[in-house]
């Protein structure tokens, strides 16, 4: 197989496996584990086969285009560094897959766990194999997401949910920064390809964008690798099942941050800022992590803080800007992965077998599970840096670097001391772990009686411990070449000379090691007992700094702050919203006008003044202002006055040469008034007598003043603009063309109507659609309308009429009404055919003279409405069967078909046909397809407006029925 294919296979297989795992039935533990094992082992084989190529120095590369527009390819790139990380990911992955099979409870939905695990393997491989910056970010975020799912696997558990959320929040935030950083890096380097970026180191460091890029990339790396102060997510991620902790939170995911720093070390490192940020973060993390680990009572907690501490150590190494330190960092990464994973698994076994992880309860497990205890002790010794184990080697390298690193900074000077101190802490908690758990008298009162786990569960630990020992004993034979390959991939020309030997003679690092070992043991002797009794309050000196608590407080504060801000920056109330809209319009118009130096009062054209017109507008203005004043308490008056204002504006249209508008406006006015009145019946009466709190009175007055100012400004603004435009000469626009071409080209004399049904018929089609939609919406709403209880009663007038009728002899309830309506009924009934005639007239003449389908439709509606008003809904509907919805549909269809008819003639939609047809006797008769279109309009208008009116009118019937129902219910209750 071609090497590229092997690479692709290794990269893709985990995702395929993940997809396959989720398809397995919920109880298929063996199948799922087998699948995971197969995937990881196959991947490992693939990567293993590629070792010669990867070690050769020329990376194996496979690329496909993804986003060519952005210059982004998907590139798989295997070099020495990627190889060693891939082996870690796949190798430990295989062991964890095996371990998890026996660790997890039968009741757990195992395939889901394996699905996530395999997806994680894939994502992690994606990171280490990325040959493209953006691709790296993609897989980076994928690991965050999958780790979220893994931590939250036991989602019924509150701490799992919280831990998952915290981990995702922190690592994804870092990832988002990393994305921007990667974009900037790519921008500086001129390419997102890793090779190009790695080659562009000097350019990058010189660039003015280096600072932001560095900070952003490090934000990603430091959050992921749980560096101070972002470390807080890691201990809480321990709510995940132990195999997950072993894998993600010690061996792999946290190492993604380390990997990133190693990967970009040649590009980003070597500067002061790198040194300070990375070095300080690493140092602080190492110290705080190890210090905190000392005080943990939970095995996994101890291991988590220990992990933090070791990650800090590696970060510190990378921060030192020394090539040898990079080698040490890579080496320690591998070592830490092996011993920490095995320790986690051991902890898992202890938990599994005893039912607790609390070191204060555990004791003397050596007796119950000697084999596991031995393994754990070896791993812990490796962690503590005991000679002949792998931890010792890399720690020696670290201490050597600490000593070698020279400079005047306090960090440099303090480094050897702090490094020794941290090592001593490490010894202390390792010792505590071993001592508390395995030694002492056998524990009693444990949830389960401890014994050795099943054979298969120990194999992964055995394998890992074997690696620890092997590396510790014969480093050059085991890790040597791979480490060199990895280091060369990073350092290239700057590859330092180093020696992985166990013995380097008596030197400073050895002294520091010894000191740390001795110090750790001494400290344990002195403080061990006191640590045990340390109440659950965190480490000494730091118990007030509970990261989780702070984080939760932060989150809560954030949400609270957001809610506060949401309420301040926005509003759900309508009035302020409308106020803002009007203010914004005023501001926008003013700004635009001022920006261009609008001269509002430039002299211009004027039409001869007519005092009658002015007087008429005095009426209009008075009506409008009166309506505004009376709308609150005297709604009927306000409706009347709005009607007056409407009449004046329709007369204005007429005066100013727009008879069509006048006709339409009058008709609309009539129907609107009727509708407002129909609605008014269902509104509560308002009166000045309603008490308003005094405090509210002041605020209301202030609001009214503001509103008044806004209203005046809006009126003045609109008036000014209107005046400015009207007095300016007409622009040479499209308008004149219609006057000249309406008759010759469209065969209509009423230019406005021709515009509506021919030139701009498309507008009209939309317009009637609106009308139809509104009709239907009104109908739908009113179907479910329930009158408010206080307006349910019959109006007082009718009740009084009926009371009068009852009290007079010979009269039945309803007589008064019938008498009063005697004349209106007769008049409106006989008017009915004449209004139909009027509608026909308006419809037929529309094309040539004022009128048209809309006016005709409204006139017809008025004809119906008059019948409803005179006779009542029930009476009319006994006689006239109006099906408004069908009319709406019909109108739409007729209008559309009138438009689509032109397709048959090979013309665009709505192309009008117009001709004079000759008939005997009648002579030439104009025939226009526009008339059919207008017919559609008329039919729809009748349907929609009748639907609205009828729906409104029906509320009274409904009220009657509701009232009847109520009365019946009450009656039946009384009987019962």
């Amino acid at each position: 197989m071609a090497p590229e294919l092997l690479l692709v296979l290794a990269a893709i297989l985990p995702f395929l496996g993940s997809a396959a795992a989720i398809c397995l039935p919920g109880h298929a533990r063996n199948a799922a584990a087998g699948l995971a094992g197969f995937v990881t082992v196959t991947g490992l084989a693939c990567i293993g086969l590629l070792y010669p190529l990867a070690a050769s120095g020329a990376p194996v590369v496979f690329a496909v285009d993804w986003l060519p527009a952005l210059g982004i390819r998907l590139v798989l790139r295997l070099d020495g560094l990627a190889w060693i990380f891939s082996v870690l990911v796949l190798g430990i992955g295989a062991l964890v897959a095996l371990y998890a099979r026996y660790y997890m409870d039968a009741a757990d939905p195992i395939p889901r766990l394996y699905c996530y695990l395999l997806a994680f393997v894939g994502a992690m491989l994606g990171i280490v194999l990325s040959g493209n910056l953006i691709q790296l970010v993609v897989f980076w975020e994928l690991t965050s997401v999958v780790s979220f799912l893994l931590i939250g696997y036991w989602s019924d558990n509150a701490s799992a949910r919280d831990g998952a959320r915290m981990a995702l929040t922190i690592t994804a935030a870092g990832g988002l920064c990393l994305l921007v950083g990667a974009v900037l890096l790519g921008r500086i380097a001129g390419s997102y390809e890793l090779d190009a970026v790695l080659a562009a180191g000097p350019v990058v460091r010189e660039s003015p964008l280096y600072g932001p890029a560095l900070v952003l990339v490090l934000a990603g790396a430091l959050t992921k690798s749980a560096q101070l102060p972002f470390h807080i997510w890691l201990p809480r991620a321990m709510a995940a099942p132990t195999p997950v902790s072993a894998y993600l939170h010690s061996a792999t995911m946290v190492k993604a941050g380390i990997f990133l720093m190693i990967r970009f070390w040649p590009v980003l490192a070597g500067t002061e800022s790198w040194y300070w940020i990375v070095g300080t973060a690493g140092m602080a993390t190492m110290l705080v992590g190890s210090w905190s680990a000392i005080f943990q009572h939970d095995l996994k907690g101890l291991l988590a803080y220990s992990t933090i501490s070791h990650l800090g150590l590696i970060t510190l190494l990378l921060g030192l800007n020394s090539p040898l330190a990079v080698v040490a960092a890579i080496f320690h990464t591998v070592n830490h992965a092996t011993f920490k994973a095995s320790l986690f698994m051991a902890a898992g076994i202890i938990d599994h077998e005893t039912g607790t992880r609390d070191m204060r309860r555990l004791s003397g497990l050596w007796h119950a599970m000697p084999y596991t205890a031995t393994l754990a002790m070896v791993a812990a010794a490796a962690m503590a840096g005991v000679p002949l184990l792998n931890g010792f080697l890399s720690k020696e390298m670290f201490l050597a670097e600490a000593v070698d690193s020279t400079g005047e900074h306090w960090l440099n000077l303090a480094l050897p001391v702090l490094a020794t101190l941290a090592s001593a802490f490490t010894v202390l908690y390792s010792l505590r772990f071993i001592r508390q758990t395995f030694f002492g008298p056998p524990a009693r009162d444990l949830p389960h009686a401890p014994h050795e786990p099943v054979r298969w569960m120990r194999i992964p630990i055995e394998a890992l411990v074997l690696v620890c020992v092997a590396i510790g004993l014969v480093p050059n034979l085991t890790i040597g070449p791979a480490l060199a390959g990895a280091a060369r991939a990073v350092l290239g020309e700057r590859m330092p000379d180093y020696d992985l030997a166990i013995w380097h003679g008596f030197n400073a690092p050895l002294a520091m090691s010894v000191l740390a070992l001795a110090g750790g043991v001494a400290l344990y002797r002195v403080f061990g007992a006191r640590i045990d009794t340390n109440p659950r309050g965190g480490p000494w000196l730091m118990h007030r700094l509970d990261g989780g608590w702070l984080f939760e407080r932060g989150m809560t504060g954030l949400v609270k702050g957001a809610r506060w801000l949401e309420a301040r920056l926005g509003t759900e109330h309508l009035q302020p919203q409308l106020r803002i809209l009007f203010l914004a319009a005023l501001a926008a118009a003013a700004a635009a006008g001022v920006a261009r130096g609008l001269d509002l009062l430039a002299p211009g054209r004027a039409t001869a003044f007519d005092p009658a017109f002015a007087l008429m507008w005095l009426v209009g203005a008075a009506c409008a202002l009166g309506a505004a004043e009376r709308a609150k308490y005297h709604r009927l008056s306000a409706v009347i006055l709005v009607g007056g204002a409407g009449l004046v504006s329709s007369l204005t249209f007429l005066w100013l040469s727009a008879p069509d508008l006048a006709v339409t406006q009058i008709l609309v006015e009539i129907v609107t008034t009727a509708m407002l009145l129909l609605g008014l019946r269902w509104l509560p009466k308002r009166d000045r007598a309603i008490p308003v709190p005094d405090s509210e009175r002041v605020r209301a007055r202030r609001r009214r003043v503001t509103d008044l100012v806004i209203a005046l400004a809006a009126g003045l603004g609109l008036a000014t603009i209107a005046y400015a435009v009207m007095t300016r000469p007409a622009v040479d626009g499209i308008g004149r063309w219609f006057v000249e071409e309406a008759y010759p080209q469209a065969g209509g004399r009423n230019v406005v109507n021709v515009l509506l049904v021919d030139f701009r018929a498309f507008d009209t089609l939309g317009e009637i659609a609106v009308l139809g939609i509104v009709g239907l919406t009104v109908f739908a709403l009113l179907r479910r309308f329930r009158p408010a209880p206080d307006s349910l009663e019959r109006p007082a007038q009718q009740r009084r009429h009926d009371a009068d009728d009852r009290s007079s002899e010979g009269r039945e309830p309803g007589h008064t009404t019938a008498d009063a309506l005697l004349v209106p009924r007769l008049v409106t009934t006989w008017l009915f055919p004449f209004i139909i005639l009027l509608a026909l007239h308006l419809f037929l003449r529309g094309h040539d003279l004022p009128g048209g389908g809309f006016a005709a439709g409204i006139a017809l509606t008025v004809a119906f409405m008059l019948q409803y008003m005179a006779w009542g809904a029930a009476w009319v509907e006994e006689r006239l069967r109006i099906q408004p919805i069908a009319w709406i549909g019909l109108g739409l269809l007729v209008a559309v078909l009138a438009g689509a008819g032109s397709w048959l003639a090979g013309r665009p939609f709505l192309t009008a046909y117009f001709a004079y047809w000759k008939f005997p006797i009648l002579g030439k008769v104009p025939v226009a397809s526009a008339l059919v279109f207008d017919l559609g309009i008329m039919v729809l208008v009748v349907g929609a407006s009748a639907l609205m009116l009828v729906a409104l009118a029906h509320q009274s019937l409904r009220r009657t029925r509701v009232a009847q129902g109520q009365a019946e219910r009450e009656a039946s209750e009384e009987r019962a």
Binding site: T169, L184, V559, L578, R596, D732, R760, G766
Partner: protein
């Protein structure tokens, strides 16, 4: 400048295939009209009709996407040439938006088959008319015709927001309608002012007139444009004009909310179209760009605050819609061409995800939500106001429903928060790369910071709400996912995934669209001189 008194010679006849451009408008209105003639009880037939229509619309849109890649298509409604008649212009941008609207509409429709289609009378007709309005707004080349289609779309949206009735909906609907009515009045003022000062309504003609020195009353024209722009920004729900959006969308029934996700994008589309067409060059070059930038940034910020503050998923989805609109606006405001292509791509992805989120949220919150589907209604004769016929619930409960919902929610979250590998990420990436392509301006940095923070602050509340809805154990019965709902959801999410997977071609399309928009001369020529077809 004197416009020609006679329009350019018209082709003697039009090929059948040319009518494709007008079909996205004519088809829904015709089918809706026919449906109104049918009794509302014939649900199956109506569903089939709507489904067929929507499929046809998606098909047409895709064909148009293909055809307009070469050249735009101009359709002269009524056979009147621009600038006198109304023309429809299908270009890359409109075709893309048509496809988006169609896809979203299709999925929302399929979703409604499960139950929402019966929660009120005449759902399907309203739904189709809404799409007609949206499609019309995308296609028209005439400013006033745009107003008309806006109104069609809004009127139908009022109906759909109120669909299912109930207190929350009606209360939200009242505010929604009031605000949008004011916006419509602004639109009218603006468009008439533009006409009064420039003498034309055709967008291309307007652009051409603006290119000639001394055209019209420029100051008053710009006042008109400012008011017009405000109307559009209200539809985009830009801060501080868009407070109606989250409340309204949260109250709306799920399929309505999903399709409404496209509504605010119509506003964005118009701002995009007009500012690039009219203000790219010419007398008013650069008009309003700063305002758009500020509005966009403020919208992202407010949307982010809102999403952080959200107590439920529907509200969060509403704010996500705001953020997505704000992002496109802000990118437009920076004037960065390269980023604009990314923004176009982002617009599509985020709209699909927001739509999916509305659907998901409804399923997840079903039963807990006070805003519930009312009893189904069939008898819609006005004389039977109390006839609430009940029907058995259809659809097959899917066993792994919760898991699927979880995956869906996760994917939506990823898209909206811009987390890899979905289109939200690709879009933001493209925007970042575009913004950093040249010298990074202060506006660019600001936008990058804004988008990054907004990503994070979208992710956090979404995760919180997801955990609350899916992980926290409760006594509610697990949500039941019906087949049609699953189909709708997977359709939207698959579209998202496809958008990311074929990010190359998609971004290339967006890039070409941006190039096309940046050089409007070809558009103008095609409309006014019959340059194309």
């Amino acid at each position: 400048m004197t416009p020609p008194m006679t329009p350019p010679a018209l082709p003697p006849s039009v090929a059948w295939s040319d009518h494709l451009v007008v079909l996205p408008i004519v088809l829904p209105i015709a089918v809706a009209g026919a449906m109104f003639l049918l009794d509302d009880r014939r649900r199956r037939l109506k569903e089939a009709l709507s489904l067929a229509t929507l499929l046809a619309l998606v098909g047409i849109a895709l064909v148009l996407v293909g055809r307009t890649s070469a050249a735009p298509e101009v359709y002269r409604v009524g056979n009147w040439a621009a600038p006198y008649g109304i023309v429809l212009v299908a270009d890359r941008l409109s075709a893309m938006m048509l496809a988006l609207a169609g896809l979203l509409g299709l999925c929302a429709l399929v979703f409604s088959f499960a139950r929402w289609g019966r929660a009120g009378p005449r759902f399907h007709g309203l739904f189709l008319l809404l799409l007609m309005g949206v499609n019309g707004a995308f296609l028209t080349g005439d400013l006033f015709n745009l107003f008309v289609f806006f109104e069609v779309m809004l009127a139908a949206s009022y109906g759909l927001v109120l669909h299912g009735s109930g207190e929350t909906r009606i209360r939200a609907g009242l505010g929604y309608i009031a605000v949008n009515l004011v916006a419509s009045l602004f639109f009218l003022i603006g468009v008439s002012l533009v006409y009064g000062t420039m003498g034309t309504l055709n967008m291309a003609d307007l652009a051409r007139r603006l290119a000639a020195p001394g055209a019209g009353e420029l100051a008053l024209f710009e006042v008109g444009c400012a008011i017009l722009g405000l109307a559009f920004l209200i539809k985009c729900s830009a801060w501080p004009l868009g407070f109606w959006l989250p409340t309204t969308y949260a109250a709306a029934s799920a399929p309505a909310a999903a399709i409404l996700a496209i509504l605010s994008k119509v506003g964005v589309y118009v701002v995009l179209r007009l500012s690039l067409l009219l203000f790219g060059a010419g007398l008013s070059a650069g008009f309003g760009q700063g305002a758009i930038l500020v509005a966009g940034l403020a919208t992202i910020a407010f949307g982010t605050v809102g999403i952080l503050a959200s107590r439920d998923l529907t509200r969060a989805a509403g704010y996500a819609v705001m953020i997505s609109s704000g992002t496109v606006l802000a990118v437009l405001g920076t004037g960065s061409e390269a980023a604009l292509a990314g923004a176009l791509y982002y617009l599509v992805g985020s709209t699909l995800a927001a739509g999916a989120l509305f659907l998901l949220a409804e399923i997840l919150q079903r039963g807990r939500d006070p805003v519930e589907a009312a009893q189904p209604v069939f008898a819609d004769e006005y004389r039977d106001p109390f006839d609430d016929a009940d029907a058995t619930e259809v659809g097959r409960a899917i066993p792994a429903g919760v898991a699927i919902l979880g995956v869906g929610l996760l994917l939506c979250t990823l898209v909206l928060a811009g987390v890899p590998p979905l289109p939200g990420f690709v879009g933001k990436l493209a925007i970042f790369i575009g913004l950093t392509a040249g010298t990074v301006t202060a506006a660019g940095w600001c936008l990058i910071a804004c988008l990054t923070l907004s990503s994070l602050f979208t992710l956090m509340p979404m995760v919180r709400l997801g955990i609350l809805n899916l992980w926290v154990p409760n006594d509610d019965p697990p949500p039941v996912l019906r087949l049609s709902e699953l189909t709708a959801l997977s359709g939207l999410l698959a579209a998202c995934a496809a958008l990311a997977l074929w990010g190359g071609p998609a971004l290339a399309y967006a890039d070409a669209t941006m190039q096309w928009l940046k050089a409007p001369e070809a558009y103008i020529a095609a409309v006014l001189d019959g340059g194309a077809r």
